[in-house]
Amino acid sequence: MSAEIARRRWRRPPILIQSRAWRSIIYGGALIYFLLAIGSIQVNWVRVYEGLERGWRFIEGFLVPDFTSRWGDIQVGLVESLTMTVTSTVVGIAISVPIGIGAARNLAPAPVYFLCRAIIAVSRSFQEIIIAILFVAMFGFGPFAGFLTLSFATIGFLAKLLAEDIEDIDESQAEAIRATGADWWQLVNYAVQPQVMPRLIGLSLYRLDINFRESAVIGIVGAGGIGATLNTAIDRYEYDSAGAILIIIILIVMLAEYSSSHVRKWVQ
């Protein structure tokens, strides 16, 4: 008996799906889908081959970026993007704090809770680009439409995470404050706010970072910012300018990420 066990080689158990039948069905289905999906891509290889030269030029443009010849345009786009980012983050936070408090089950009565959750759901379900298309149609081209788009998108993100954070607070602290006879405002100010503040600051910085990245995109549909400059540069096949813009975007994002991680460490 023990000799038989000893002779048996150990085999690694399969990952995820233990049943052999289900495993073959699911993997087989995945394979069929994969082949179908590959088949649905029609590639014009001649066009790809012709494009390779352009691709090479783009890589060259990225390696040897041209900051100077379109510097005026880049500067205007950058200033628009940065100001848009700051204003929309501030306004977005200012709106999402009350909504976030309203969407926390332990602070808000049921009607307020459902209203705030509905606002969050609406804001989260549409992406920035689609909102930007609508706002550009309503408010005209330019950074103002972009500002509104980013503020709107900030609400869904920040209010949801803030609400979840408030729901996760240490209840005993809230109870202690309540036991002193504090009213609702005092409860929020002395029991909830100190507990969620570090995370709120962290999330705000993170959202600032996201808003800058998004501001580079919504320009494509006319909402101003560095995205519009980038779009123009690519349309003109000026890959060295496009490379310069991308490098600037990457640098700013890196800087924002680096400094925000430092600030978060300092706050917590």
Partner: protein
């Protein structure tokens, strides 16, 4: 005054703390006002004041959605799904080695390779898939391939960042145990590291797939295939009832994919 001791009143913050706080708020307010002024310099306020009537006008044009247009949306929808799925796969294939090179405990050289891997991650993360698509459409031409590669390139950073963080958080004792049996480097990765990060990996992959569905719906705006192409075509001819229908379809797809990804992640983790 001299005899009576003033009972100290409890205050929330020290005077220095209060001063700092006020200074911070003042700085923030000043920055906001300044940015607001710079940003709105070029704004034509007539358009902004006009917005409610524009919105009402747009609303009246957008309803009812043109349901019959749905016949022509099934195929782009299938394309969108394929862009997201194949793009996610492409991203994962590249992201996994990058993640192992970037994780502090598996990287071959912390001096040389790790910063390079981190640079790849940051570059991929900071550029939105729409911008990648814009570039790729210019380079390899419009179509699904550009969309797939754009989604893939954008996914590398996301997947690699989350994966390398979870690789760094693994239990080192298991690695040591496997190494003590005389396992080679590849075997250590296979038997000690992979099993530990696998649940996190599947979670990340499904999560990214969900995000990619969302992003691939709009890639068509720049010509990279999927339902966004129809959106762009409808916007160009100001066919707002069709735009409404496309928005509804996108919303339904996004909600569905979010539901699927939540279910799958729940089942795995």
């Amino acid at each position: 005054m001299s005899g009576a001791r003033v009972t100290p009143v409890w205050q929330h913050r020290t005077p220095k703390g209060r001063l700092l706080l006020w200074g911070g708020w003042l700085f923030l307010a000043a920055l906001f006002v300044y940015c607001w002024k710079v940003m709105t310099e070029g704004t034509i306020w007539a358009f902004v004041y006009d917005a409610p009537s524009q919105a009402a006008d747009l609303g009246s044009r957008m309803v009812p959605p043109r349901w019959s247009y749905m016949d022509r949306l099934w195929e782009p929808l299938w394309d969108t799904l394929n862009i997201a799925t194949l793009g996610t796969l492409l991203g994962i294939v590249i992201a996994v080695p990058v993640a192992f090179l970037a994780a502090r405990n598996t990287t071959p050289s912390a001096r040389l390779v790790r910063p390079l891997a981190l640079l790849i991650i940051v570059a991929s993360r900071s550029i939105n898939s729409l911008i990648w698509a814009l570039l790729l459409v210019a380079i390899i031409g419009p179509g699904l391939l550009a969309g797939v590669i754009a989604i893939g390139l954008r996914s590398i950073g996301f997947v690699a960042k989350l994966l390398y963080e979870s690789i760094e958080e693994i239990d080192a004792t298991q690695v040591e145990a496997v190494r003590a049996t005389g396992a080679s480097g590849a075997q250590v990765i296979d038997y000690a590291i992979v099993p530990q990060v696998l649940p996190a990996f599947f979670g990340i992959a499904v999560f990214r797939w969900d995000i990619n569905i969302r992003e691939s719906t709009i890639l068509g705006l720049v010509g990279a295939g999927g339902i966004g192409l129809q959106l762009q075509a409808s916007l160009n001819v100001l066919a707002w009832p069709q735009v409404t229908l496309i928005f509804i379809v996108i919303l339904a797809t996004v909600v569905l994919s979010e539901w699927v990804s939540a279910k799958v992640r729940h089942a795995i983790i």
